[in-house]
Symmetry: C2
Subunit: 361 residues, 2 copies
């Protein structure tokens, strides 16, 4: 491919002129030519094949895979196996009217468990909705649980969303998501490396995950069990230099164990997020998307000096007491008490009863 | 105090020979002498006054306060105010039969919101119980909510627990915790810097919090609202070089907002914990208390090679297919398929139907 380009590579493979090592990798497939059938099938379902020469090819995001591949060790023993290797896709089958490069330009992946809880689905839908409202594309895998909730949240905000599949784009998997996939294709895109008709084989999900990580500016993990696929996707994102963002959950929930493990892994450097604003702070342009700080309730006590607070604490609820008694309880000088009382009275925190000072209620 | 010792300092204060600056700090209290009354009141409730000269004085943990005080800036403008200054206690009023230094030697603080949720109380009680079972002392503030749940968890494990109060040790505050405080004093200790009879003034909680942080090997925050006292205690622990450990919760819970803020604060370096084992890994002796890694379910697929996994994925569920078909779907050579099939069959993952290979179910 790198030496002679895709067309010549196929010609050489088919005519038996490819190097032995390459022929072994392609294996039994070398005699099959389904190209025309694939293209016909794509046309029938309204899909197209996007190649690196196309304008809409997402060259910039996918360059992270080329870089990661270049960092693989030279000796075969240390290299990632074929399923996990950071190989850039040769082409992408795309279904939907939007332009692929535009959709992924400002995009975030939301991934998580298929066996999600109501909590996780709520959070994923909320994140999907808020990211969609702010003009960001939610990318996920179209699976049950967290994936579907994230897609639906984005659709509810009438925002485009992108499903990266481990099977052909004409093949609703899971089958129960047929209607969801139609809505995604109407508003956003269905994307796959495999031609229409391909089955969702297990290892393809692992291959697919690197694409979700590469296409997006960061990956949010909403719920993940211990040793789960969502954890794997998060680590792929880290390998590609993308921020890994993790939503925590109850420590009593098995579906948050994987999330908490990711957050405890110091080497991973995952960031805890609780809102879309915090997600955008991590993936957005610097300065553009700062999350507002979480604010607690404000109180009239805010801004009082240390002495004023101590005097206020010393004031009784019912019977008023004289300043020297306040000074004794507050542990300060009577002059200090007399100095801070006017401010406390102005703030309606204390009142004069005629015989002494007490709290104003 | 530092120059002439506590006895001479009091004599000079009472006789008006103390420096003006010191007299101003002591203020209206200088004329009161409640020492004998305090000691009598302590004796009546079974409490004692522990001073630095006593064997049970926890000199080592409290030394962190002396160190922190030494790091305060020299100019008064930059110094912590009196409520927040890291001043070591002069003496401690202690109620209970246990030795103070022994109880705090292996201790962990568990702090959190008074207005806790059932989730937070469950986690605090569970942590208190498990830490107690492993011979660690749970230190908390005796308040409603998380504090009480942590104390009760430790008591349920028949482990000593230590309540550090912001009022006199003879004064049950909150009043509804009278029975709890009796159980704590029977099994562990009630500790206060203020003499018996003192009221739980608001600023005393802030003063008290530094003591909870100093006495323990680390502070666990279980539930905390935004801008809460538990957050403040966590920051005091960090100031003293003690690990800050934080239990996450649902991002939909207002009572976990403070916890998540602590975990998002990179400067704080708080560690997310989900179990007593993880708490002990952070505060225990190195190598002694490593938490076991969280394990997911193991599967017969574990340990299979990349090619074996792809061949396994290529096997159909019902009708068996020949090896060359498996090779075409798996994207490998027929020889590879023939090489891995015996291992897959031995692991009961695939079976021969007489005409081809399929998944063994």
């Amino acid at each position: 491919m790198e030496d002679v380009g895709p067309v010549e590579a196929v010609v050489r493979l088919r005519s038996g002129r490819a190097p032995e090592r390459v022929r072994a990798l392609v294996g039994a497939r070398v005699d099959q030519d389904a190209s025309l059938a694939d293209l016909g099938r794509a046309e029938r379902c309204g899909a197209r094949l996007v190649v690196p020469e196309d304008d809409e090819w997402p060259a910039l995001p996918l360059h992270a895979l080329t870089l990661a591949l270049g960092e693989e060790p030279t000796e075969p023993a240390g290299q990632s196996d074929r399923t996990r290797a950071p190989v850039p896709p040769l082409a992408l089958w795309v279904r939907g009217t939007a332009r692929l490069d535009e959709l992924v330009d400002r995009s975030v992946a939301i991934v998580g468990s298929r066996a999600s809880t109501a909590y996780g689905e709520h959070v994923a839908a909320e994140l999907g909705h808020q990211l969609g409202e702010r003009g960001w594309t939610v990318v996920s895998g179209g699976a049950f649980g967290i994936d579907a909730a994230a897609h639906r949240g984005a659709l509810a905000a009438e925002a485009p969303t992108l499903a990266v599949l481990a099977c052909g784009v004409d093949r609703p998997y899971p089958a129960a998501h047929g209607a969801l996939f139609h809505r995604i294709a109407d508003n956003g895109l269905m994307v796959s490396e495999w031609p229409p008709g391909c089955a969702p084989l297990r290892h393809r999900f692992l291959v697919r995950n690197r694409l979700i990580a590469a296409l997006t500016r960061g990956t949010v993990v909403v719920e993940a069990a211990a040793r789960s696929g969502a954890q794997a996707t998060a680590r792929r994102a880290q390998d590609l230099g993308r921020p890994v963002l993790v939503v925590p959950g109850p420590v009593t929930s098995a579906l948050s164990v994987g999330c908490h493990e990711l957050l405890r892994d110091e080497d991973l450097g995952a960031v805890l997020v609780t809102s879309a604003a915090q997600v955008l702070e991590a993936v957005g342009r610097i300065g553009d998307d700062l999350a507002p700080p979480v604010e607690g309730p404000s109180s009239p006590r805010d801004g009082l000096s240390d002495v004023a607070l101590r005097v206020l604490d010393a004031c009784p609820v019912r019977t008023g007491v004289p300043p020297d008694r306040l000074a004794a309880v507050a542990g300060c000088d009577v002059l200090d008490v007399l100095r801070v009382l006017p401010a406390l009275e102005l703030a309606d925190l204390v009142e004069w009863t005629g015989t002494g000072w007490r709290l104003a209620l």
